[in-house]
Symmetry: C2
Subunit: 208 residues, 2 copies
Amino acid sequence: MKPTPVKLFDFSFSGASYKARLALSLLELTVEFESIDLMAWETRSDYFISKNPVAQIPLLELSDGTLLRESNAILTWLTEGTPLMPTNSVERAQVFQWMFFESSNIDKNLGRCRFMETYPDWKKMLPPGHLEMCAYLGEEALKVLDEHLRSKQYLVGERYTSADISVFAYVHCSEEGGFKLGDYPNVKAWCERVKDRPGHIPIDYQPY
Amino acid sequence: MKPTPVKLFDFSFSGASYKARLALSLLELTVEFESIDLMAWETRSDYFISKNPVAQIPLLELSDGTLLRESNAILTWLTEGTPLMPTNSVERAQVFQWMFFESSNIDKNLGRCRFMETYPDWKKMLPPGHLEMCAYLGEEALKVLDEHLRSKQYLVGERYTSADISVFAYVHCSEEGGFKLGDYPNVKAWCERVKDRPGHIPIDYQPY
């Protein structure tokens, strides 16, 4: 029998955690939440490292004791077998394509810029020029998305899927990292469609 | 009906392309290959950008015309429904966990160091300190892997899966990027196990 999700270790500011929180809300699943304060280095505590050696949130605890990490793997777990994950093999492949694109091109660039602009003390620890490179690559990622969404309502198969949740998490709040969504009208319109979905919650919604 | 893989656009040096080539070999699948020379900027040609706007290899063409990008999504597509992808829901989640870890922590760090050490002209284009950061984060990723493999033969469920293929691609050749696998004996032993699998091919094996 498939275990059930029991507890999400997360942090309200984290876009990666938001992927899981948003999927839980859309699927009307109730879990326990435990906040792990990134800024207070709590992801590096002995307590948390013993649960997740990669020292990252979100982390999802399942009813069989499994501790599942990586936001996109958690999202895949939560949405598999629901209308948020297609059953058609090509559409499934495309959902994974966008989730891996998110992992390497969105999270690492848009997400990092937002984090560093919000917490300037952390920004000082980066090598010079690093954030400028992330900003450049982030714009490239937004261009790809904007072109893809030119004639599409959602990323895959004209239906709202796990790919949209994943990509939306750091794209919709990317202006906090210095990006201008007005430059990407198709992305902006898609963000509005996602926000209008039944069960949608904003990134700063605290379920606990 | 599920389409079949028809053609792989790849480049022999590319560890990302190797994930797809290795899976094709293990599964005894035959496809057409087209080399896209990264170093000659061929991923940026109009011809290739029209096929993959993200300008990355590998790219897999399917029999229905679909052009599938992102090496880990291609790997998922190829291995789904084969013994390389578990059917148990928790093991599947763990396979995705390691593939997303690979995407963000291995490819971006070990892969980048290998590329830049091999092609010093490209290294000069990076911001100062960037490669040192990748090297530090790469060591962190190898530590996580080494600890995980301390008591395990393979990454997930004690069987060779798509997660091993994904992580192996850039880990086994990471010494070309300045890492020392001798410092990670469990990772080194696991690399040897992967190399001993029936159907294994080395990264520089040219199927065309």
